[in-house]
């Protein structure tokens, strides 16, 4: 009998036991069952012009991913199980076709008075997540859940302490390294000033096989570069949020002990070194009527938090370092997105929003990030103007200027990219807003028509050259959405290069809690970021379809 099947039986058995106990307490409490399902399918259409050459284009031709999550809540008990499936998937690593399926997540959670106990897989974080964050992003193929046990004690609304021990998940298994952590937070104040203060502690212990591998590698280093690696990495953090009226100020300092880490040099070679690390992060926000200010500063020095030094790229990350860049959503302004560099960076970001009145507002952002040796990594100047022209027409326009260290962020040689990207967007509601009588059945509701245009132009002499982008989207809310777009390589970096079109079409249909999408797309190779976590992806050409629902 497989361990996964055994786990499922244990969960189901626990549900039965819990239910029996609850029935003794209350015959009426049948609990609450909820869940969600998502299935994504991709068909790969090889296009040698844009450089689609990964294995799916050559061999498998299609892939499927699926997630089915069930939650059952009853009288303080919570049972969660998620079935994951990856068939020839490029999601976790775009260069391979990964196939695997099974119980991707399971959890039993029980609240007893001021205590909460969790066993199985769990997501969590300490403070901002700089020290520890267990999280997932299925669209980047990331799942940093911890498998183990967790206890939380919350004696009152102002104090919380929790601790856990476990191993980080590695797809359907776990990394052999062990981790444990403690976190305490307290809310307090002086007069009108309120504070949320916290401390966190994390310990990660290497397994013997990893230590043997490290020792052999260190024994192969030149004599003056050898060091004795530590089995245990200890890290701690202290953080505080101060709130006073419209002003909020966050500070965090995290330090980790010396351990073996791989450092990437300017030539993209990796060198094993024995280094401690630290992060200092501070951010202040202030809002007053139509004015908003957000200023952040962050300094990172070799704060590489991985379950093992041999975990590659995005594998085995135990924390989350927030990026100091504006999170763009438009196609060309987001083309060169960045993630925080755990090996080291110093950066500052300032964003000002100002609303002249209810119809006109501005957004200005400046980001500047450099390496500890003062090599520039990223610089952004961003200005945006939003105007509500009428009840039916909204307009947005702006410009972005970037400096982007291609070699560092993309992991292979390339010039520093300089861009200027003006952008324009207009949304027009067609017809008057519908007034829907209370109690109208959903299928009887009239569809609200609207149309949206996007125009963007990215000018650069580096990387692939300049692009123009246009999108037209027609919506029949809340059910239908149709979009066509094209990203046109209008001035390639090399005059001899072809001027390629990366066009895409997209249809979505929503019925109650269910949504179906399908689209044909060509996507330029580059960095794909979600929430400040980025991955370099090859070019894409093909059809993507998905169906998702929750209940």
């Amino acid at each position: 009998m497989s361990i996964r099947l055994l786990t499922l039986i244990v969960i189901l058995g626990s549900v039965s036991v819990a239910k029996a106990q609850m029935q003794a307490q209350s015959q009426d409490d049948k609990g609450h069952l909820s869940g969600d399902v998502e299935i994504d399918a991709t068909w790969f259409d090889r296009d040698t012009l844009i450089g689609t050459s990964t294995t799916q284009y050559l061999h498998e031709k299609s892939s499927t991913e699926g997630w089915f999550t069930l939650n059952y809540l009853i009288s303080g008990w919570s049972f969660t199980a998620r079935y994951d499936m990856y068939n020839n998937s490029a999601l976790l690593d775009p260069t391979i076709a990964y196939t695997g399926q099974g119980l991707g997540f399971y959890q039993i959670d029980k609240k007893i008075d001021k205590w909460e106990f969790t066993a199985g897989d769990f997501y969590d974080q300490f403070g901002s997540g700089i020290l520890f964050r267990a999280w997932q992003n299925r669209y980047l193929g990331l799942d940093y859940a911890v498998q183990g046990v967790r206890v939380q004690y919350t004696p009152d609304d102002s104090f919380m302490v929790k601790g856990f021990a476990g191993q980080q998940k590695d797809r359907f298994t776990v990394w052999p390294q062990v981790m444990k952590g403690l976190n305490a937070e307290k809310i307090w104040g002086i007069g009108n000033v309120s504070m949320l203060s916290g401390v966190g502690f994390l310990n990660r212990t290497l397994d013997q096989a990893t230590m043997n591998q490290l020792a052999n590698e260190i024994n192969s280093l030149p004599y003056n570069q050898r060091f004795t690696p530590m089995y245990n990495m200890y890290a701690g953090t202290a953080y505080n949020t101060l709130n006073y009226k419209g002003f909020s100020w966050y500070n965090e300092y995290a330090q980790k002990s010396r351990e073996a880490v791989f450092i990437t040099d300017d030539n993209n070679n990796q060198q094993l070194e024995n280094l401690p690390g630290h992060v200092f992060y501070t951010g202040a926000t202030y809002s007053f009527y139509g004015f908003g200010l957000n200023v952040q500063y962050k300094s990172i020095s070799t704060f590489i938090m991985k379950t093992t030094p041999y975990a590659t790229i995005l594998d085995g990350i135990m924390d989350y370092l927030p990026p100091l860049s504006k999170q763009e959503t438009a196609r060309l302004p987001s083309l060169y997105s960045v993630s925080a560099q755990s090996q080291g960076e110093n950066g500052i970001q300032a964003e000002v929003t100002y609303a002249i009145d209810k119809r006109n507002n501005f957004d200005f952002n400046v980001s500047y990030i450099k390496q500890p040796d003062n090599t520039i990594l990223y610089r952004e100047y961003y200005a945006e103007y939003n105007k509500i022209i009428s009840k039916n027409v909204k307009m947005e326009m702006g410009v972005q200027s970037l400096i982007y260290n291609y070699a560092v962020y993309e992991g292979h040689p390339g010039d520093v990219v300089h861009t200027i990207t003006p952008f324009f967007e207009m949304s027009i509601r067609l017809g008057k807003p519908h007034k829907i009588a209370e109690g109208t059945a959903e299928n009887k509701m009239p569809l609200q028509k609207s149309i949206r245009f996007e125009l963007q132009y990215l000018s650069t002499k580096q990387d692939s050259g300049s692009f123009a982008y246009a999108l037209v989207e027609y919506n029949l809310a809340p059910k239908w959405s149709f979009a066509v777009s094209d990203m046109y390589n209008i001035i390639p970096q090399h005059a001899a290069d072809q001027k390629l079109n990366y066009y895409s079409t997209f249809i979505s249909y929503t019925e109650k809690q269910s949504r179906f999408t399908i689209g044909y797309a060509k996507q330029v190779a580059g960095v794909i970021c979600t929430g400040g976590v980025c991955r370099v992806e090859p070019a894409f050409s093909g059809i993507r379809a998905s169906i998702g629902t929750n209940f």
Partner: protein, 291 residues
């Protein structure tokens, strides 16, 4: 509540102060970075020789089956006097020293192990290489050869005709300074399109130490052919590219023997070999006592 907060902080500090023991890292001793270099002194051409064979025995004092491999190599050496040389390369965590006993691993031996098996080392010990020939029965092909097969492969290797002949010239050992020097001279009896390298090592036999056996620890175990020093470059000094027949090249060898080694039981082992992704095979090997 504050007490819990302070207790938490104290617990964190207490955990950080714990000390660890890790004896897996080898720190070099003086003279361990000795280099082979081309010797411009002209020596006489070396006459053609019969093919000798090199056994590299990857072993460890915490590997309970490794004494069987050592026994196999001794049997082969005794059955073929002067025709077989052995390097007993202690490596990986299975060769970590016992408390109060020396570390038999060497930095350059570990580099050599990584060169053939990756930084993690062989999948298991003992294992060996016979003239560094790639074995097709492993996948992917590897030099790893189980000790039970060593004798067969040694016999077939000895039947070959070597493309190089090897000898030692001007060997000298100064007991007062423990300085050992020689020239390793290689001649090529036939024209060849290959590239050739020479490697050299010091081995010691007959000393006693602790060895794990299947059922017990033997604190009086006699170690044989133990690699004490592998000269750099650990994977060979380039001595000839496409040599014509009659070419003779010498490499200079100078080192200082560690005071803990018994010079009477030490030998120099030198061998000529190839070095590429697909061929690291040994053409010829010779050994000579230090004293």
């Amino acid at each position: 509540m504050n007490k819990i907060f302070y207790l938490f902080s104290l617990l964190s500090l207490a955990l950080v102060s714990c000390q660890e023991v890790n004896d897996l890292i080898i720190y070099p001793k003086p003279g361990q970075n000795d280099l082979l270099s081309i010797d411009t002194t002209k020596f006489a051409s070396v006459p053609a020789q019969s093919k000798n064979v090199l056994i590299e025995d990857y072993t460890g004092d915490r590997c309970d089956n490794c004494p069987n491999a050592q026994s196999a190599s001794i049997t082969i050496v005794n059955a073929n006097p002067g025709r077989v040389s052995v390097l007993g390369i202690h490596c990986t965590g299975l060769a970590a020293p016992y408390t109060g006993y020396p570390d038999y691993r060497t930095a350059n031996g570990t580099q050599l192990m990584s060169y053939f098996f990756g930084v993690g080392g062989p999948s298991s010990l003992p294992t060996g290489a016979i003239d560094r020939i790639l074995q097709s029965f492993t996948s992917p092909p590897s030099v790893a050869t189980p000790y039970a097969l060593w004798s067969n492969y040694v016999t077939s290797e000895m039947a070959l005709t070597p493309k190089a002949a090897l000898t030692f010239n001007n060997k000298n050992y100064d007991p007062s300074t423990r300085t050992l020097s020689t020239s390793i001279t290689t001649s090529f009896p036939t024209t060849s399109a290959d590239t050739f390298y020479v490697s050299a090592a010091v081995i010691e036999s007959g000393f006693r130490g602790v060895q794990e056996l299947p059922t017990r620890f033997d604190s009086n175990f006699v170690f044989e052919h133990v690699l004490r020093k592998l000269m750099l470059p650990y994977n060979g000094l380039n001595i000839a590219n496409s040599p014509i027949a009659g070419t003779t090249v010498s490499a200079k060898f100078t080192t200082i023997l560690d005071p803990s080694w018994n010079a009477d039981s030490c030998k120099i082992v030198a061998f000529v070999h190839h070095r590429s992704a697909i061929n690291n095979s040994v053409e010829q090997v010779q050994e000579i006592p230090v004293k």
